[in-house]
Subunit: 315 residues, 2 copies
Amino acid sequence: MGAREVGLPERAPAPGGTLPERVTIWEVGPRDGLQNESEIVPVEVKLEFLDRLARVGLPVLEATSFVHPKWVPQLADAEELLAGLHRRDGVRYPVLVPNERGLDRALAAGVAEIAVFASATETFAERNLNSGLDSQFAMFEPVVSRARAEGIAVRGYLSMCFGDPWEGAVPADQVARVGRRLLDLGCAQLSLGDTIGVATPGQVTAVLAALDAAGVGVEALAVHFHDTYGQALANTYAALRHGVSTVDSSAGGLGGCPYAESATGNLATEDLVWMLDGLGIEHGADLDALVATSTWMAERLGRPSPSRVVRALGG
Amino acid sequence: MGAREVGLPERAPAPGGTLPERVTIWEVGPRDGLQNESEIVPVEVKLEFLDRLARVGLPVLEATSFVHPKWVPQLADAEELLAGLHRRDGVRYPVLVPNERGLDRALAAGVAEIAVFASATETFAERNLNSGLDSQFAMFEPVVSRARAEGIAVRGYLSMCFGDPWEGAVPADQVARVGRRLLDLGCAQLSLGDTIGVATPGQVTAVLAALDAAGVGVEALAVHFHDTYGQALANTYAALRHGVSTVDSSAGGLGGCPYAESATGNLATEDLVWMLDGLGIEHGADLDALVATSTWMAERLGRPSPSRVVRALGG
C-alpha cells in the first residue's frame, strides 16, 4: 500500500490561529550535518549538494564553517568550497565563524552573512569554547562588531538551551539572560539549540516565554532541535504555535553521530516540510526534489538517511 | 557526551494548562506490533514480552488478536497465549476481535475486554473488511451487543482517519460521523488511527474538533499514530493539547513494515514516555525498564528498534 499515493496531507486550518503563515527553513545540512561525518566528503560533492539544495527552493543554506581545521577537518575546505560555490539568486549562504581568525578567513572568502556559536551553560562554554559563560562574550564582541562594520549580518547560535550533559536541565531564565546578551551584542537572530536532543514541548514553551519576559521578540528567534529522543518535530510544533517562524533543519537528517547505525541527529528537513505542508505553512521547498537530493547524498555517504520521510518516499 | 547523564528532562509546566494530568498508555506492541513481523515469534517469547511490559507499569496491554489465522498467522497462537498469560493485578489485557467467530474464540478464552476494527473510508472498508463504510456496522453490531451482554467492554478502532491510500485526505466530518456511529453501537472508547502515518497536527485538531461538534466527548477518545513520516509524536502533542488522555503506542516502535530496514511503524512507547515525562504528565511506566524490554525484544527479532529513545539509551 503506497503511502505516497495519498499525495501531500490535507492542508488543515491552523489550530488556534497562532501559527505563522510562512516559515524560513534554515538548512544546516552542509555545515552541521557534514561536520559530523566520520569520512571527509569531497568538495565537489559538497558543491553539488549545495546546488541541489538551492534548486529545491530552500532560502538559506549554511554552507560551511571557519572553525580551525584541527577541530573540524571535515570542513577544512571552506575557502575552496566558497570559491567554487554557484550562488543562486534569492539564496543566502551564511557560514559559521568561531573567532576573529575565522572572521578574517570568512571576510577574505567574501561571505555576506555569518553565525557565531555560544553556550547557554557554564560547563559547555568551558569545555567547547575554552571560555566561561560570561567570558565567551569577550570572544564574540570583536567578531560581531567587525562583521557588522563590514555590513555582514550575524546570527547567534545558543547551544544547550534545554539540557546539558554535565549540568542537567537548564533554567529557562538563564537561557533568556544569555540569549538576550547575544542579541544585545549585535546578533540579528538567536537560534535556540537543543544540542543533546532532550527537550520536550513544555520546556520549549517555557524558554520562549522567558525570552518574551526578557523583552526578546519572537521575530528574532529560531529553533534548532535534535531528534536524539524523537522529540524534534513535536518541539518544533510547540515553537510554531508560539509564533517562531525560522526553523533549523538538516536535509535527510544529516548530522547525527556517525558511529551509530542510522544516527539520529538534526531534525530532518523532509520531516519538517511534511508537517509544514500539512499545516498549510509556506516555505518554498519542493519535497520531491528534497527527498531526491537526500537520497543522492545518502548514496554518497554509503548509509541510509535517518529521515522518516526520506525512507518512506526515497529510492 | 552521554545524553543519559542529563537524566529525565525538566518537568516543565503545561503550556496553556490544557494538557491532561495523566495519560493512559494503550500498549499495542504484542498485537499490532507482532502481527506485522515476518517471522512468527514463539509463544514463550510473547508471554515473556507481555510479562515484562506488565512489570514496566503499563496499564493496558493489547495481548493478541482473534483474526483468522489465515490472515494473521503471526497471532494464530491466541488461545495458547491467553491460556499461558500471567495476568497481573491492575493490568488490562484486551484482544482484537474482527467478527462473531472471533468473539466466540475470545469468550472461550475468557477475555474481559475486546476491540473491533472499523474503517473511516469506503475503500478501506471494502478492501480490508470485505464490506462497505455503512455495511461494516452490520458486521460489528452483533459482536458489540453480545460482548456487552457478557459484561465485556468494547473498544472501537477507526482506521484511515486522516489519509487513505486510495481516497487521499479524509474529510474530518466523515471521521466524526463514522466514529460517532461506532460509539453509538456501544463501544466504550474510540481510537482514531492514522493507519498510513500521513497526518499532521492541524488535521488532528480538525478531526478532534469535528468529533466535539458531533457530540463526542474527548474522554471517549484515544489516538493511534504511525510514524511513517515522522509525525506521530507531534500529532500526539496536538491531541494532548486538545485534552485526549489515552494514547496508543508500541514498545520499541514494533509494528512497521518488516521488509524495510529499521521500519517505521507505530509510535514508540519510549518516545511517548520521554515526552510525557518532560510535560509532567503521569503514566505509570518506568522508562529504563521499558527500554530494557524493547532492547531484549529487538534481540529476539534480530533487528534494532526504530525507537529513537531505545537507540539512544538501549544496549
